[in-house]
Symmetry: C2
Subunit: 252 residues, 2 copies
């Protein structure tokens, strides 16, 4: 059965979409079948792989449970359920829909035996879309940039994860905190320290994703990072992350 | 009467809060009375000035229209209506409230004659909180980092601004696009070019805000940027922006 992971953080611009895309790529390069789900409010994940929603999108399956998820192939081992700006409308419509927070969970059922990993890219909020991701997932990776603005929201995110666990999804746990867009400066170093001290019971990945211009370049060209430059620091970091994740899961 | 400006962009992490805080500081340093409104989903704006919500917060005035906005003083000329994580609950509650999108506009009426500028920091979404800001504002500054992920959402933001103009707030216009967290690299240069080409009818501020470590340091210390280092590039850029904004407004 597939391991389903939500990549979340209500703080904006911390590398959620980038992590979903490149961790997905790294896992698929290791021969695992990976499905990516685009719940980014602007469809940024689909853009990174230059995938359009002409033939269907996640929005349709959330608001109409009879429509199966539409899947596009990026490579043989890497598939994506795309989105575009339409997704913004889902929040309003779902609010009055029955089981509004369990729609994605139901939509993923037919795919749990087909893929090894399903990664869900979340929007920067604790809205009904993020709740759909947390109900559909077994675990959650919290992408965070080690900056003051990003640390503040962690408690409310952990609170929401904990309540989802109690009410509807007992399997949900935090896979780990991942430091992203990390720079060599005193602020980042001290913030990482502060997070380690304040969240001792939470796993923090050893792998960190350093800030690198090749990520911005690859995204501007809509090329996957491993195609763009597989020897880049970013590609190597995300491959390292994939390995660390696999080791963590296998050792449980 | 006060000039009310919403600092918006549904893309996350592009410097909305930083711009609201430091443009506010720069305007108040020039002798103008400025009120900042914290609609950031994590209350980041209040944090930057180390202001707490012990004595009240925006959330209370939005959900209960009889409670006046609670104002804290940062300096004699710079005040703030603070928020904390409670604000996230406002989205749910407002959805079934009458005139859910006009609550802030009504709450600001008593302050329009007291301040010269009112700046509203928006969350990274086109939700009911951002709609409250767009209905309360005369104009909107679109903070954007010149990266691929940030350009995509512009059309939907402009669409929402345009519809707010037609339905409820005819005075609303785009004051300008402000390039933020700008780095000297090919991606940023080409993205700025692309924005200029695709949005020729929209004003783009000449002032750009370069990326600088002093902003991260000031925010980690919860110190206003002009107190932290008034000679920093960031403080100078935001002062330049204040001047450009004042010139644009005066020349109309
Ligand atoms: N390691 C990195 N080095 C350099 N740039 C990066 C890195 N990771 C992400 N970025 C850039 O930072 C910006 C924000 O990243 P991304 O869009 O993945 O964040 P997000 O958390 O998904 O944002 P949102 O909250 O808006 O969904 C993007 O422009 C991306 O190209
Ligand atoms: N010019 C700059 N140079 C360096 N860092 C900056 C600059 N402007 C903002 N930052 C940093 O970038 C991060 C994002 O900025 P900020 O929180 O202001 O963005 P935002 O658009 O308000 O985010 P959100 O969408 O989550 O509300 C913060 O950690 C901030 O310290
Ligand atoms: Mg994203
Ligand atoms: Mg903000």
């Amino acid at each position: 059965k597939a391991t389903v992971i939500a990549i979340a953080n209500n703080k904006g611009g911390v590398g959620k979409t980038t992590t979903t895309a490149y961790l997905g790529e790294a896992l698929s390069n290791r021969g695992l079948k990976v499905l990516l789900i685009d719940l980014d409010s602007q469809g940024n994940l689909s853009q990174i792989f230059n995938v359009t929603t002409e033939n269907g999108q996640v929005f349709n399956s959330l608001v109409n449970y009879t429509i199966p998820l539409h899947i596009e192939e990026v490579t043989e081992y890497l598939h994506i359920a795309p989105s575009d700006l339409e997704l913004q409308k889902a929040e309003q419509i779902l609010l009055s829909a029955p089981a509004s927070q369990q729609r994605l969970q139901r939509a993923l059922v037919p795919f749990l035996d087909i893929y090894d990993f399903i990664l869900i890219d979340c929007p920067p909020s604790l809205s009904v879309l993020t709740l759909n991701a947390l109900n559909a997932a077994n675990s959650c990776i919290v992408a965070m940039q080690p900056e003051m603005n990003a640390v503040n929201g962690l408690n409310s995110l952990f609170g929401v994860i904990y309540e989802t666990q109690i009410f509807s999804n007992p399997t949900l746990h935090i896979e780990g905190i991942l430091f992203t867009i990390v720079e060599k400066n005193t602020v980042h170093t001290s913030m990482k320290e502060a997070v380690r001290e304040n969240y001792q019971s939470v796993n923090i990945f050893d792998t960190e994703i350093k800030k690198g211009i090749e990520i911005k370049k690859a995204q501007a060209l809509k090329a996957p990072i491993f195609d763009f430059d597989k020897n880049s620091a970013a590609a190597k970091s995300y491959d390292e992350l994939a390995l660390e994740l696999l080791n963590n899961i296998n050792s449980k």
